[in-house]
């Protein structure tokens, strides 16, 4: 789905101006640069130097796990409260707020899965210059320096990370607006407008007076301690800001925060999605900072730090020695500056990376994850915000989408097409046109008059459907959803207290306040089968436009001075999409009485969104560059917990050449969320429309996906349990190999499959880096063996993309590919045992019912370890407490890289032994055991002699 584009006939004339203004490619002028965002400019104008902050050591209080300390800004005498926590799992939390803010400042709720468990902090040393605390692990210490205030985290003599070492801690304290009438008129138009506005705005002044008494008292208190306070200058955009005819009233005035972090010795930093940019973050010096502000960007540009649909304020640093992470828990508009330099360290030149975070409001609340290994950082972050939700198995299969499948007959015809051309698929999707006039939770009475019948037809083939449910609600007094939201007063309010209204697909629309738990609870009930009429249990949900997208709003989103109860939209913006998906997923769970796992796709997201479903990279384009970009974009998301990521296969805007489409299917088949999608104005592109050859190529790509579904499912189970990403950059598994650090044209699935998509037109070959000294890699198409730690040129044809299985791994497949994943439930497995240099291999197999919560509520699953060592392959139970029975058995075992045995025997749990027939191909050292026939959940051992 798109940003506003071209639905000319359908939208009202009033909208035209808006539409045309964003009709061609990305119109950068629609989106702010740092200079155009007043707080970013103010903050960025503060250059590194001596920090005005000083720690008041005498205010230190240390309880078991919490240290508090006041900081004072020697320029304005405003005091801050610093809180330090040592968290379990080698993390440190640093919170900084005003000691006595005029009003409470926003602290992000609902993102952390719990109040992070703490561990005791030990004060090691203390003098008038500062103090030293022990961080428990090894020789890790935290040093607080008083003047200027600075924090250093040390590992022995080594500085791992410094805070405020560049003096960029800037905390704009909440303040009262000065009497502006007598104030000198400043030269900027923005502040001029401030003045004019304030003259006419008697209400805000009256309000201000109300508060003033309290504050005066406050001030009086301060005055006792403080002799001299430097008057801070008014700067432009503090009290009102205008961008392209949109004004932001900013009744609370300036409130931004900033803090710098220095990573000595670090050259590689990653994360802070979502940007259409390289995996390794680039220096932003002399350019724009990376921006985190959920926006509906029409036809986004590649290699650009502009904000996109989602925001996860998590950054990872990595060196061959240590991986660390920063989680900046703030939901307001945020900018991240990155600069790299070379510093003298340990007598030699060492790289250093400096990172500066700037947010418009809220508090500083940062989690420092100290690793040391990449997987540790990921576990640490997972312990804070949770892990990937475990999707229904079918959601890992192939999804067929288009804006729009026109009507029920069209759905039927596409469904039949997949059978006719023998291409599997699990989900068919309906975009906005399926609704009755863009009223979500309804069906177009002409085109989709019998939705149940349509869903039943799909169900008869064990297939499923997704319909779109966007958060903008048509303002229409005869529309049930609107009426209820209005009557329950659940809409977001504009700054004057009325319901906020903006333009979106339905025309005039209201935006439910998803930050309100009562609203979310009500929203969830709307997915009940008797509320969302015409639905059945094989219907799932897609949340689009939840940045939120407001066609006529500033930067195509909501006005920051809109109100969510007591908070401004400015405070919660990046959380909106997170909450929409949360409430929707809850609705899908509830409608089944808590039995079924939900599947919800979202475009906007935040830290923690992994708990609620899948995300995709939004409105990309049918261009080779976008295919290429899908890799770093999903890798970046995986690093910050969001494993269930995909890009629109084929590209949303524009029309792919058959070659690009085929290559995209081949790449998409190896990316977590595998969905083809297309813009309304593009020609149809179902897989069989490009001639028999291309149809066959696409069929083969999709079938490869289906045969690997057991592996995908196990990877997702693993991601769900541990937070480890499904799709991984190479450096995650080979952290000591610097050659992997910037690789973004290939990736690992789990740790055992290496995939190098073909992303260039007319390509005859690719150069893949096979990592790991002493590792061996087997081409899954030819079983050819390659040594690790080298660059390998691989000729390619249109038939496939290079995929390698790591020697030492066992991968389970189901090779009887059927028309949907559910049809394959009871099918037998084939094990692919690829041995390493030591002649061993291991893997896992996970099986459950594929769609309910019984795996966690009733321990109904099978989890087995498969081990091959010294000629014996055995299956052992990894989870003796769980129970599940499967009809699936093992039909074949393929050993790659083994010598020819003289005999193979199967020994089952009851001790019986039976010989197995086998075939051996000496050329590729390929051994295939015929029909072991053991149940997939049983204990057994195979001996090769």
């Amino acid at each position: 789905m798109a940003a506003p584009t071209d639905r000319m006939g359908l939208l009202l004339v009033v909208l035209f101006a808006v539409l045309f203004s964003i009709a061609d490619a990305v119109d950068r002028s629609n989106f702010k640069t740092c200079d155009q965002s007043a707080f970013c400019k103010r903050q960025r104008d503060v250059k590194p130097g001596q920090s005005p902050y000083r720690a008041l050591l005498e205010t230190m209080e240390l309880s078991e796990a919490r240290l508090t300390l006041q900081l004072i800004n020697d320029n304005n005498k405003v005091r801050l409260l610093l809180e330090l926590y040592r968290l379990q799992g080698n993390m440190t939390r640093v919170k900084i707020n005003e000691l006595k803010p005029l009003r409470p400042r926003y602290e992000v709720p609902d993102v952390l899965i719990q109040e992070p468990p703490t561990e005791s902090l030990l004060l090691l040393e203390r003098d008038e210059h500062g103090m030293v605390l022990s961080l428990g692990v090894d020789d890790q210490r935290l040093i607080i320096k008083a003047r200027p205030f600075r924090l250093d985290i040390m590992d022995g003599p080594k500085v791992l990370l410094s805070l405020n070492s560049r003096g960029l801690l800037v905390f704009e304290h909440l303040r009262l607006r000065k009497d502006t009438i007598s104030h000198k008129i400043s030269s900027t138009v923005g502040s001029m407008w401030d003045k004019i506005k304030s003259v006419f705005s008697s209400k805000s002044e009256a309000d201000a007076e109300g508060v003033e008494n309290d504050v005066e008292q406050n001030e009086a208190e301060k005055a006792e301690k403080v002799e001299e306070v430097t008057e801070e200058e008014e700067q432009p955009g503090m009290w009102e800001e205008t961008f392209k005819s949109h004004s932001d009233a900013k009744p609370s005035g300036p409130s931004s925060i900033s803090l710098d972090f220095s990573f000595p010795g670090v050259d590689h930093v990653y994360g802070i999605p979502e940007h259409a940019d390289s995996l390794k973050l680039r220096s932003t010096e002399g350019g724009e900072p990376y921006r985190l502000y959920n926006l509906d960007v029409f036809q986004y540009e590649l290699y650009n730090p502009m904000a996109l649909y989602g925001a996860v304020p998590v950054l990872l640093s990595h060196t061959t020695e240590r991986t660390m992470g920063l989680f900046w828990l703030n939901a307001a508009e945020t900018w991240v500056d990155i600069s790299s330099s070379t510093a003298v360290q340990d007598g030699g030149d060492a790289p250093q990376t400096d990172v500066r975070w700037i947010s418009e409001s809220g508090i500083i609340d940062v989690f420092i994850m100290l690793g040391p290994r990449p997987t540790d950082v990921i576990s640490q972050y997972a312990s804070l915000t949770g892990t990937q939700s475990f999707p229904p198995l079918s959601a890992l299969a192939y999804h067929q989408c288009r804006w729009n499948y026109n009507d029920q007959e069209d759905v039927q015809a596409v469904d039949n097409g997949f059978d006719e051309y023998d291409i599997p698929y699990d989900f068919i999707w309906l975009d906005i046109e399926h609704t009755d006039g863009k009223r979500y939770f309804t069906w177009d009475p002409n085109k989709f008059s019998q939705p149940r019948e349509m869903l039943q037809n799909l169900k008869n083939k064990k297939r499923k459907m997704v319909t779109i449910v966007d958060p903008h609600i048509k303002v229409d007094s005869s529309y049930k959803i609107h009426k209820e939201i209005r009557s329950k007063d659940f809409y977001i309010k504009n700054k004057d207290g009325g319901d906020y209204e903006g333009w979106c697909w339905p025309g005039n629309a209201g935006y439910p306040d998803f930050t309100n738990p009562q609203m979310r609870a009500w929203w969830a009930t709307m997915f009940a089968y008797d509320q969302y009429e015409g639905t059945m249990d094989n219907l799932y949900t897609w949340n689009d436009m939840n940045e939120p997208s407001v066609f006529n709003g500033p930067e195509v989103t909501m006005h920051k001075d809109a109100l969510h109860g007591g908070w401004e939209h400015r405070d919660v913006h990046n959380l909106y999409g997170f909450y929409v998906q949360m409430a929707t997923a809850q609705g899908l769970i509830q409608r089944s009485g808590g039995v079924e796992r939900p599947f919800v796709l979202t475009r906007a997201f935040f830290a923690g969104s992994q708990r609620y479903g899948a995300v995709w990279t939004g409105d990309n384009a049918a261009e080779w560059g976008h295919l290429k970009m899908s890799i770093p974009m999903c890798l970046s998301l995986g690093l910050v917990g969001i494993s269930f990521c995909g890009a629109d296969v084929g590209g949303f805007f524009k029309t792919p050449s058959p070659e690009l489409l085929v290559r995209w299917y081949q790449a998409g088949a190896y990316q977590p969320f595998f969905r083809a999608h297309a813009h309304l104005d593009t020609p149809r592109r179902e897989p069989w429309l490009f001639g028999p050859e291309n149809t066959a190529l696409i069929r083969e790509a999709v079938r490869q996906r289906y045969s690997l579904l057991p592996y995908w499912y196990q990877l997702f189970y693993n991601a769900h349990r541990t937070g480890q990403p499904v799709m991984r950059p190479l450096w995650l598994e080979y952290p000591g190999d610097a050659a992997t650090f910037a690789i973004e044209d290939e990736f690992l699935l789990g740790k055992d499959l290496l995939v190098h998509p073909v992303t260039d037109e007319g390509s005859h070959g690719v150069t893949a880096y096979l990592p790991g000294e002493g590792e061996v890699w087997y081409d899954v198409h030819t079983y050819k063996k390659h040594q690790g730690n080298l660059n390998l040129y691989i000729p390619v044809t249109m038939n496939s993309i290079p995929v390698f299985q790591r020697g030492g791994s066992i991968i389970t497949r189901k090779e009887r590919v059927r028309r949907s994943s559910s049809c394959m439930e009871d099918d037998p497995y084939t094990l692919y045992v690829a041995v390493n240099a030591q002649g061993t291999a291991e893997g896992e197999l996970y099986i459950d019912d594929g769609h309910t919560f019984n795996y966690e509520k009733q321990n109904q699953f099978i989890h087995r370890r498969l081990t091959f060592t010294e000629g014996s392959l055995s299956s052992s139970n990894l989870s003796p407490d769980s129970q599940f029975s499967t009809a699936s058995w093992v039909e074949k075992m393929v050993f790659i890289g083994v010598p020819k045995p003289s005999a193979a025997t199967l020994r089952t749990a009851d001790g019986t032994e039976s010989p197995l027939e086998f075939e051996f191909d000496p050329a590729s050292e390929l051994l295939a055991l015929r029909k072991p026939g053991v149940n997939a959940g049983a204990d057994w051992t195979i001996h090769l002699r």
Binding site: T5, D6, M8, A23, N406, D410, D422, N446, N460, K461, K462, L680, D681, T682, P683, R684, R703, E815, R816, V817, R818, R819, S822, C823, M824, D826, D827, P828, A887, W889, E891, K892, R930, K931, G933
Partner: protein
């Protein structure tokens, strides 16, 4: 679930009452039965290897071509044969065996999945039979009509051909006649031309004499006018008062210049003024007229009254596309046209007509007139003949164009030419004019959109005439030009059945016509024989 590799005893006693019992492995069609001989080693149908017979249908794929597992899902490329007694036998991919979905109407694909399938073959057979019968009836009638159409087309074609050759013969005669008339015309025009030239020459001579006299009179008049001191001489000083005579146009008539004009002397008398007159008469402005003459508007300005909005009608065709985008403009355009229509045709005012009248050539004398009349007649005759020839040419072209269309192998689509067929939906009226164009017009106001002009026959190989393609229609905003595929199916009547837009700006129209009806097979033997397996 290790599966039984049992032989399936097919016990079929259907329809005709006699029982057929054929033993063969599950999923094997009768035609391949001989390859699966019980208890003999089985050789994969691609010959790649031989396996013991008990490995046929043992739920493990041994043959690369999948031929050892016709009745299980073990081979990714296998296929399963459903006998479907009572309906059509068919093959399904073996991945559909025991997948819980009933594919074969005889339920044989789901023998071990727990799916409860109903045998629907007989019902389906009955339905199919009905449909086929109905179709056959339609086809039969349609085919009869088609024969008539073909005959009619043939007749028309012949008629056209005949007419064409007739016209071509005619044309030859007419061309000859035209040539003859051209000669006659040229012959008659020669004396006419000479007589007219003579007449013109005489008149011009006459005019020259009159002009010379006029000039002389004018000269005398000017002489008197210039001779301010009435001394019978025009002096340099007298001439200098006429600055318009300045030869180098520097704004001043110097003494030398004036002298030069007078022929190098200081003054001239009336008799020797002629030389000076020749050099000044072009520029000279009469003293009496001097003031008013300067104000006289130049003749060119009289061109002004050409109507302001003249360009609009010419622009119309080009504007058509824009009209579709914006209805307001459309109305404006029409307003313009209305104004134009109401206005009297602009009269072109020709200045100086009366003066020309004075100078008008005298009428031709009777002899010349007679010559002209005679010549005019030959011209009229010639033009007439030429027009007639052009008409015939147009007709020939139009017939040739029509004959050039591919109206099907037997010309069965001929009758669609220059016809249009409409379909009204809730929003639009669609119009198909075969071999011409497809269009769409909103029901409630708004202009017509071109959905494509005739392109070509576009059916798949073997049935080229089952689809037509119309392309290069009105462009889509940010998209391709509209195009339409028309699918033709057999019907008794020629009707547009439905339209849809499967992809943005790509339309699909279903059109029935007897012209595509196939000859029904002689009996109903095309309906399957239920006894056959």
């Amino acid at each position: 679930m290790s599966c039984a590799y049992l032989l399936l005893a097919l016990s079929l006693s259907i329809c005709l009452g006699h029982a057929v019992e054929v033993q063969r492995p599950r999923g094997v069609p009768l035609s391949k039965r001989q390859f699966y001989e019980e208890n003999k080693p089985f050789t994969c149908l691609d010959g790649s290897r031989t396996i013991p017979f008990d490995r046929v249908n043992d739920d493990y794929c041994d043959c690369k071509d999948g031929s050892d597992e016709p009745g299980t899902a073990a081979c990714p490329n296998g296929s399963f044969h459903c006998t479907n007694a009572g309906y059509n036998p068919t093959f399904i991919p073996s991945s559909r065996i025991n997948d819980g979905i009933c594919d074969c109407c005889d339920t044989t694909d789901e023998y071990n999945s727990g799916a409860t399938c109903q045998n629907t073959c007989r019902e389906m057979g009955r339905q199919e039979k009905e449909i086929l019968q109905k179709q056959a009836e339609i086809a039969k009638e349609g085919f009869l009509i088609k024969q008539q159409l073909i005959n009619e087309a043939k007749r028309q074609q012949e008629e056209k051909q005949r007419k064409l050759s007739e016209m071509q013969t005619n044309r030859k005669t007419m061309e000859d006649k035209l040539e003859a008339l051209r000669t006659v015309k040229e012959v008659a025009e020669q004396p006419e031309k000479e007589a007219k030239e003579r007449h013109l020459k005489a008149w011009e001579d006459q005019k020259a004499i009159i002009q010379a006299e006029k000039d002389k009179a004018k000269m005398a008049e000017v002489f008197l006018e210039l001779d301010d001191d009435e001394d019978g001489y025009v002096s340099v000083a007298e001439l200098q008062s006429h600055s318009e005579l300045d030869p180098d146009s520097d704004g001043a008539l110097t003494e030398t210049e004036a002298q030069g004009l007078l022929g190098g002397v200081d003054k001239v008398d009336a008799s020797s003024f002629e030389t000076a007159w020749v050099s000044i008469k072009e520029k000279y402005i009469s003293e009496s007229q001097a003031d008013s003459a300067a104000v006289d508007p130049p003749a060119e300005e009289n061109r002004q009254p050409v109507p302001d909005n003249e360009p609009y009608p010419e622009d119309d065709p080009a504007d058509e596309d824009d009209d579709n985008e914006n209805e307001d403009d459309e109305e404006d355009e029409e307003d313009y046209r209305d104004e134009d229509g109401d206005k009297p045709p602009p009269s072109v005012h020709t200045p100086g007509k009366s003066e020309q009248d004075e100078d008008a050539m005298p009428p031709y004398d009777a002899h010349t007139k007679a010559l002209i009349d005679a010549a005019q007649k030959t011209r009229d005759d010639f033009d007439e003949a030429e027009r007639a020839l052009r008409e015939v040419d147009d007709q020939v072209k139009s017939i040739e164009k029509e004959l050039s269309f591919d109206f099907g192998p037997s010309g069965e689509f001929t009758h669609l030419y220059s016809q249009c067929y409409e379909l009204s939906t809730s929003e639009y009226i669609y119009k198909l004019c075969p071999f011409n164009r497809v269009s769409q017009k909103p029901k409630y106001g708004g202009s017509e959109t071109n959905l494509g002009s005739w392109g070509s026959w576009a059916g798949p190989e073997g049935s080229l005439y089952s689809a037509m393609k119309y392309d290069h229609g009105t462009g889509c905003w940010q998209g391709p030009n509209r195009s339409t595929t028309v699918k033709l199916t057999c019907g008794k009547e020629t009707v547009v059945m439905s339209t849809s837009e499967p992809s943005r700006c790509e339309y699909l129209m279903e059109f029935t016509t007897p012209a595509v009806c196939q000859e029904p097979l002689s009996s109903e033997s095309n309906l399957h024989d239920p006894g056959e397996l």
